[in-house]
Symmetry: C2
Subunit: 427 residues, 2 copies
Amino acid sequence: MKIIKNPKRTDWASILERPTFTTESLDKVVNEVFDAVQNEGDSALKKYTQQFDKVTIDTIKVSSDEILTSKDLVSEVLKQAIQLAKNNIEIFHNSQKTAKKIITTSPGVDCWQESRGIEKVGIYIPGGSAPLFSTVLMLAVPAKIAKCKEVILCTPPDKNGNIHPAILYAANLCGVTQIFKVGGIQAIGALTFGTETIPNVYKIFGPGNQYVTAAKQVALSKGIAIDMPAGPSELLVLADESAIASFVASDLLSQAEHGADSQVICVSKSEEFLFGVLEEIKEQLVELPRRDLAEKAIENSKFIVLEKDADILDLINEYAPEHFIVAVENEHFYLNGIVNAGSVFIGNYTPESAGDYASGTNHTLPTNGFAKSYSGVNLDAFVKKITFQRITKEGIQNIGNSIELMAAEEGLDAHKNAVTLRLESLK
Amino acid sequence: MKIIKNPKRTDWASILERPTFTTESLDKVVNEVFDAVQNEGDSALKKYTQQFDKVTIDTIKVSSDEILTSKDLVSEVLKQAIQLAKNNIEIFHNSQKTAKKIITTSPGVDCWQESRGIEKVGIYIPGGSAPLFSTVLMLAVPAKIAKCKEVILCTPPDKNGNIHPAILYAANLCGVTQIFKVGGIQAIGALTFGTETIPNVYKIFGPGNQYVTAAKQVALSKGIAIDMPAGPSELLVLADESAIASFVASDLLSQAEHGADSQVICVSKSEEFLFGVLEEIKEQLVELPRRDLAEKAIENSKFIVLEKDADILDLINEYAPEHFIVAVENEHFYLNGIVNAGSVFIGNYTPESAGDYASGTNHTLPTNGFAKSYSGVNLDAFVKKITFQRITKEGIQNIGNSIELMAAEEGLDAHKNAVTLRLESLK
């Protein structure tokens, strides 16, 4: 890792380049598992759980007993923490509801939109070392606010066939309707096609490894909606001398500990400040249990010195970071000018981990430059907006002739005729 | 075509079945063209335009002279009609802007969303018999309201290398920034990779034939966002004896004239009413220039009699029509209960063609059952929503401990540490 000083614009693309991320090579195994799940249902789920997760599951669905027991296995302090996070996520996502507004576009022509929750949604929660109950909150809370009827959660069982109690506790607290002990490609296949036990859904949310990511892409090609395409997690910190080097270092490391492929970028006008951050990183790294992962990500990180605000802003918008921390005095220039980012964290006391857990914003965000075209998960992701229109006799008399002219020009005479008949009836 | 009386629920799926629609068989030709466009740029565009559209194009970009000339080639009455439609689309999509609302989730923790227009969007307008300038309005107007910086339009040239003047006129009127004479797979490839002349974009909108649809799916797999997956157009009309048979017939025919694979469904409690509609269809068909297409679609249409409102509503929601006309006295039962539909047309004087052209709602809508998970195109489709959060010292003291507990339980100690450092600095 070294500091890059005043790189030329023509070099930005290569400096900001992300690791190539493609799942096409996994399509063969995904299609094989999908075919089996579609044709053999539950028995395929059990077979692949044996094969990939090395555990035999007799019952795919988590029982109400298991959910009840999970309550006793989660400490009171953690329950309170989960409750606080849930409240904040609820408040913020509730505020995203849109009221029905009837708009009269021409006299007698009323148009409006109404939101409807997607009736059946699937939430995938990965297994592995970290039990991501925070992701349960981030996806189940807005699903409930959106009034999704069925909220189906799939997550792989551990070696003993169990699911981490905090995941069960959070899922039950947030109104998940059914929980299944299935992970990986087979889980995404089950949510795509449905099996005897697991219902199919209309949209699949949630993170996962490269196999899950590839499976979600195949589900998408089969007409199932997904939250967004995935890639390694990213953080870009912009800091000046009003920032605190130890805080910046801790934020960069919290991103770095996600994995060796995590993208970590720090931009400043001050090289000296960046030196200070690097020193802090060295000190803090020593204490970290996930030090190996974090160290690798830090090695690949970029520390960039640029002099002008306008250049810095352009560089950030070109990169389109998933997470963007703004710790500079002239923050308004950046808050107004940022176009491409997933979530923005402002000031010295707003660490990325606040948004990961408890500020109320969603942590399911666009990576890999997708912030140029995708929003993070929010309430909109769980609803469809239907348009309505009601036209009176006066209304069709006002706009009917225009419709006739346009339809005729496009050669669509039946479209024209649907208006002509109505206009003639009013003569 | 025959009337289906009181079908059993178990038969609904087969009655409502859509034609299988898959573009995978076209992937080979799409990948071939994409490779050529990526590697050879403009010269590949010219080669395929020669091959597929049978015309030699010297200049890919439409000149300002061509745009100027188009103004003289569009009649004044059509210009006025286009202006009326544009106004209504503008009014309705403008009303979809969301104000920034700062939400305090915990004391000292402020969260909000801000919309940013997608910087570069592509609009595809098909060629063929009908010059779809109405689709230019539907896509370019919201792109402009969203403040998309670059709005790139691609459409195939006719045999003489020209583009229909109404398309050029509408594109210029609505603020399209560049227009290119390229269609088909090669146009989608150019918008995906960029060439010497055509810039790449972040999201591609617009209808097209099966090749364009397949190309958009491949673009999606390469990280370019698209408006939505496509399928044949659909209309479901619900009518009782308060409806007017000739109007209903004209609406069904306006759907049917789109193509032989158009989906046309009419549901009523009254078999007699449906007989009346069928009679009207026969009479109106005679007059239609696109009679052959419409006749085929009508042959495949379904006329369904059901007795109970609750059953009718379930059937409609199961089908999830792109367009849904509600022409019944107890309309409120259906307007409240509809969950899956693209756009809803209420009452006897609200033909589908009003929404296709001039009511103000968007006509780019989810087909093929995708209304279960996708919205139609609206202002949201042209923006990303970025979340922001600002936490004060008080704020991190309020939520910091919860973050520490959750991060520790997930095994993410650097996430915890980013909060601990801040909390300790405040002691």
